[in-house]
């Protein structure tokens, strides 16, 4: 149905043009789900945009043919292309929060789309919209259709987006990371829906994702992309079962397994490619300096007890009382010296809030914190000169916002050195900052550049270097890899693991990804709605969680197995193994 041959997309810029997609060919048949998988920058979304005819202004199709049935997509006039979009090809976007208009009811948005493409009465359009909502699994569609987007949950909203894509009966739907913004449990439901729609309605899907687990769950055929080129293409079962290209193997290996614990995360590196050269002698210097400051013993013990955090709520009406929101309720836990405590829970469970309480960014209403027995004052009473300011450091979730984009890396890194009076001599500070870059696997020359000149993974390395340059004892890692690609995630986690082990840092590691937490931590704490549900040794937890919520959480996490099953039907059953 869709036939793409030899597609090349180039982006023009000041210095000329660069190829973003090089010689990509793919076919999508009716009712088939074709997965496009690769790291960011692989050109996945660009292919989708080229098919839709929605390339950004600087981009253009340099070569290749795009055929949808008998229509040549490259020959369409702008008006014809406009009519085709939405009618024959439609799109599902990543974030259901932003792809629906918050000021319009679902009904209005669906009817508007249908009427834009078909000449039928409003009543007929409404009828079709209601049928569609029922088909995609929204109960009471008749009444729910009058609701606004914010009255639906994230998963339901993504269903509505899918309904919006389906309402004109398109032949092809391009789904660009449709589940990336969703929680794991909801992700499985949305993927099930996509598979069902492909089967029952015969719609072709192009599923763009960076998550090879998603590919394993739903797609029939898969194209593995890297740097705009096709690495491997074929039946999903064959490609994942007996990968021919080393990159595919590497990409699969980078997904941390939930089932067992590895010493190191595997990197998706093709054999023969060099690992990032560590500057050995420089790194040595930084290491010695850290050792000299922290000693060889493990970091401090962290004990927190009875932490409760409430956020001021909105006043309901003029005379209504405020309804405060309790983010954390009576949370107590202890992190043993020099070990990693993994903190897990769904989004909104209060994980990050806890880290912010320890970092003195959020004021608890009550509770007590102790660092090696000494009282750790909460936000309002923690002085700027408090020794814990240096001892407690944090690696933030989003490396794009945690580094000041107007400062050079060298300035960012020397800041803790002079702030805490660790090195009085400016030249020595400079040298040490560069040495630390060597230790985290960057070149010392990186110091003279600005953060925006680095990739996400490199920025996170800089953030780790900044934290280490305070000679910390306690490291708070708040989802340090959730903004990164799988391959880079492995590198950063390895780095954190190495640093933690080498310097005996006491670490609180926050993640929603249970597989990652299993690899990282010695102990585990589970949070739900601000309450501690379970704590215990990591291995014991994964072997036999005691709280029922923990069991649910583990069961909802899809584990991906890439064992060479051949028939898509059996693969579909087996690949989501629910533990």
């Amino acid at each position: 149905m869709l036939k793409v041959e030899g597609l090349c997309v180039q982006f023009k810029h000041r210095g000329g043009a660069s190829l973003a997609v090089e010689n990509v060919s793919l076919d999508v048949a009716q009712g088939e789900i074709h997965g496009l998988v690769g790291e960011s920058g692989a050109g996945k979304s660009t292919i989708g945009a080229a098919i839709m005819g929605l390339l950004p202004a600087a981009g253009e199709i340099a070569a290749g043919t795009l055929m949808l049935g008998d229509t040549d997509l490259r020959r369409l006039s702008p008006v014809e292309a406009h009519r085709l979009r939405g009618k024959r090809i439609s799109m599902i976007f990543q974030d259901p929060q932003t792809s629906l208009n918050p000021l319009m009811t679902i009904e209005a948005q669906l009817i508007e789309t249908i009427l834009a493409h078909e000449d039928i009465s409003t009543d007929a359009a409404r009828r079709r919209a209601i049928d569609l909502l029922e088909e995609i699994g929204i109960a009471n569609a008749e009444t729910r259709i009058r609701a606004y987007p914010h009255q639906f949950s994230g998963g339901m909203r993504q269903r509505v987006v899918i309904a919006l894509a389906l309402c004109t009966n398109p032949e092809l739907i391009i789904a660009d990371e449709p589940t990336t913004a969703l929680d794991v449990a909801v992700q499985a439901q949305v993927l099930d829906l996509i598979r069902r729609l492909a089967r029952t309605r015969g719609v072709g899907f192009i599923l763009i994702t960076h998550d090879i687990g998603v590919i394993a769950q739903v797609s029939d055929r898969v194209t593995v992309l890297r740097g705009g080129k096709v690495m491997e293409q074929g039946e999903t079962a064959r490609v994942l079962g007996q990968p021919e290209h080393a990159y595919t193997t590497a990409l699969m290996a980078a997904v941390p397994p939930l089932g067992r614990r590895l010493d190191r995360f595997r990197l998706p590196r093709v054999a023969g490619e060099a690992e990032i050269a560590t500057q050995v002698d420089l790194a040595r210097e930084a290491e010695d300096w850290l050792m000299a400051g922290t000693g060889t013993g493990p970091g401090p013990a962290l004990d927190i007890s009875g932490i409760t955090v409430r956020f001021r709520g909105e006043r309901r009406g003029l005379f209504g009382a405020r309804e405060d929101f309790t983010a954390l309720e009576d949370v107590s836990l202890s992190v043993r010296p020099g070990t990693v405590m993994g903190l897990v829970g769904e989004s909104g469970s209060g994980k990050s809030t806890l880290a912010k309480v320890i970092a003195a960014l959020v004021q608890p209403v009550k509770g007590d914190m102790r660092l090696d027995g000494a009282r750790l004052p909460p936000m309002r009473s923690r002085a700027r000169s408090d020794p814990s300011r240096r001892m407690v450091q944090m690696v933030f979730q989003d490396p794009y916002s945690s580094l000041n984009s107007r400062h050079r890396v060298i300035d960012i890194l020397s800041e803790p050195l002079w702030l805490y009076g660790l090195e009085r001599d400016a030249a020595r500070r400079d040298r040490l900052a560069r040495a630390m870059l060597g230790l985290v696997g960057l070149m010392p020359e990186a110091a003279d550049r600005y953060p925006h000149q680095f990739s996400g993974g490199q920025r996170q390395r800089i953030a780790v270097a900044r934290a280490l340059l305070s000679r910390p004892g306690l490291l708070l890692c708040d989802e340090p890899t959730s903004a990164l690609d799988v391959s880079i995630q492995a590198q950063i986690l390895n780095l954190l693991k190495d640093m933690q082990a080498r310097f005996g840092l006491t670490t609180l590691f926050i993640s929603h990804n249970l597989a990652v937490v299993r690899q990282m931590s010695d102990d585990i704490a589970v949070l739900k709605d601000g309450r501690l549900v379970e704590t215990g040794l990591s291995e014991a937890f994964f072997a036999a969680p005691t709280a029922s919520y923990s069991r649910d959480l583990l069961a909802q996490t899809p584990t991906v197995r890439f064992d060479g099953e051949t028939s898509p039907a059996t693969r579909a059953k087996h690949s989501i193994r629910r533990e």
């Binding site: 960014l361 923690r382 300011r389 916002s401 945690s402 580094l403 000041n404 800041e415 803790p416 305070s470």
Partner: protein, 302 residues
């Protein structure tokens, strides 16, 4: 090396591709240079009573019948050369506008930064003062300050301080823009992790505001500064035109226009129209530059 970096920068590239911005920049540059260098390039000195005589009064520009080659743009009733008056007037207008801008910038950005950073009661108080300020027309503010200074300063001192008074009046009506923009930008930046990291590390609030946040919000402030420079020039002209501003013996652009008003219907059109046209060109050029800067700092508008 600086030059090479400048050449490579995105801004210069976009600049060279926008004819309107380029033209506006050239016009602004020529006017600013002309104003700055007025004492050296102006044919006569309009403040020097010995340099002009009543005999040359009301001469039309050279291209009109009866024009005199010595006075390219004609003369006013006193026999002063219009070109020299305009250059000196622009010099005065521009320096007042620039000084007022500087005061408004420091006051507004300082208060806005602190209000956005600390929030709470301080923010509420600053912003209510800003609201009150917005409700007062600039002319009223100027009259108020003029009146107060007249009351508390001795007369001769007051005349000497007229420039300071008008600068303060303009600054007071412009700082609100800066304060509001700075505050809104700080609200956005404050929640970013790099600021949180700085707070967590225990850095001094002043350092966080000036060294961490300020460089990140400089873009929108620069745009406001450019656009407001044009308003400051206009405001000065308005005040002088109404006679609240500068006296007739130190002619700013506004004073020149006020003097020219008397000849509007008597045939000596150049005395009014040439300074007016000059003012319009200057303000439009600066506004065009401001628009360009806004587009540059807001890539989504590109």
């Amino acid at each position: 090396m600086m030059l090479a970096r400048l050449k490579r920068s995105e801004g210069i590239w976009l600049f060279s591709r926008s004819p309107a911005a380029l033209l506006a920049a050239i016009v602004t540059l020529v006017i600013v240079l002309g104003a700055l260098l007025a004492p050296w390039i102006a044919p006569t000195n309009p403040y020097d009573l010995a340099s002009f005589s009543l005999i040359d009064g009301l001469l039309p520009p050279v291209w009109e019948a009866g024009g005199d080659a010595r006075f390219v743009l004609g003369t006013d009733d006193q026999g002063r050369d219009m070109l020299s008056s305009i250059l000196y007037g622009a010099r005065l207008s521009l320096s007042i506008a620039a000084m007022a801008m500087a005061v408004a910038l420091v006051l507004g950005v300082g208060l806005g930064l602190a209000a956005g950073y600390f929030g709470g009661r301080f923010d509420a108080i600053v912003m209510r003062i800003a609201d009150v300020q917005l409700a007062l027309p600039a002319i009223l503010t100027a009259l108020l300050i003029d009146g107060i200074s007249r009351g508390i300063l001795p007369r001769d001192l007051h005349d000497d301080l007229r420039i300071a008074v008008i600068t303060l009046a303009i600054a007071l009506s412009l700082w609100v823009n800066f304060a509001r923009t700075a505050r809104a930008s700080v609200f956005v930046e404050r929640n970013k992790d790099y600021v949180q990291a700085a707070i967590m590390m225990g850095q001094h609030p002043l350092r966080i505001m000036l060294r961490h946040i300020l460089p990140n919000i400089v873009g929108p402030l620069l745009v406001i500064a450019t656009v407001d420079l044009a308003s400051a020039i206009l405001l000065e002209a308005t005040l002088s035109f109404l006679g609240v501003g500068l006296p007739a013996d130190s002619p700013s652009l506004g004073t020149l226009i006020r003097i020219g008003m008397q000849y509007l219907l008597s045939g000596e059109w150049w005395i009014l129209w040439i300074p007016t046209l000059f003012l319009v060109v200057l303000v439009v050029a600066i506004n065009l530059l401001g628009d360009f800067l806004r587009n540059l700092f807001n890539p989504s508008l590109r």
